[in-house]
Amino acid sequence: MKIEFSSLEEGSASFALDDASIAFANALRRAMISEVMAFAIEDVKIYDNASALFDEILTHRLGLIPLVTDPDSFVPRSKCSCNGAGCTRCTVTLTMSVEGPCMVTSGDLISQDSVVRPALDNIPIVKLEKNQKVVIEAQAYMERGMEHAKWSPTTICGYKNYPIITHDDRCDGCGLCVEVCPKEILLVKGSAIGLKDGALESCSLCRLCEQACLNSGIGDEPAIHIKMDDRRFLFTVESAGALPTVRIIKQGLLFLKNQSDELYEALSEIRG
């Protein structure tokens, strides 16, 4: 198994996963979406809310703010020794007290922790008029995206099979397939079809080119062939802001490793 990055930034990454089964690729995708933990606001005490939004809507908006997560210095609340009561090892308290007229933003949340804080400071929460006031105290902790999407560290996280584009010698370079390709990756090279440099990975496997070739009356089979490599996958991972993408990928892989170790142990116990 091999991972080859074609781009790796804090907010988004794309990579090719080589020599893996489709089951593994999907397991990794699901692990990154729903098993990698991130901080999010869960409980809110509202001392004062004179804004036009109901308490519930205000709280919901607070919950969706991505919080920078530090998985090394905190434990998940579900595994914490406080048994879910909330303590400094698992929970971060954020407070906010704002008086109008102004726009309340995520930057107004003051966190008790230096690392766990809103990833973006300019998320609008509610607009206040004169004499309106919002005073709240919020508790944030780490959970899995499986419990609620606000805890998922990813936005876009998916894969496709690696495309394999070939043509046989019946191709006469008529260029009909070039016109229909929505990703504009094909071009005519001499009297045959070819690919633009480095464009292969953007093929969406839509097979419109095959269809166009068939429509040209070439026979029962198109001259261009779109196949998928079923051992190679192109991943796209985008972070919501809580964790850098590289961390999401690492944590996802680590989760899979721990799970398979657990399974292995359980099986060895049964075997005795």
Partner: protein, 62 residues
Amino acid sequence: MIPVRCFTCGKVISTAYEEYKRRRDENEDPKKILDDLGMDRYCCRCMLLTHKEIIDELNPYQ
């Protein structure tokens, strides 16, 4: 208020709304504004394109 995140993909889009609104009111082409703001997917683009702000109409009734 503009939703904090895109309903479909979860990207934080609310941070782009102020600038989008200002430039749209200056009659700039929405396509260009959305491209500049890094709204690549059509799910996020429609969040900004179709939003109607009503907080100012609600506020007098507090």
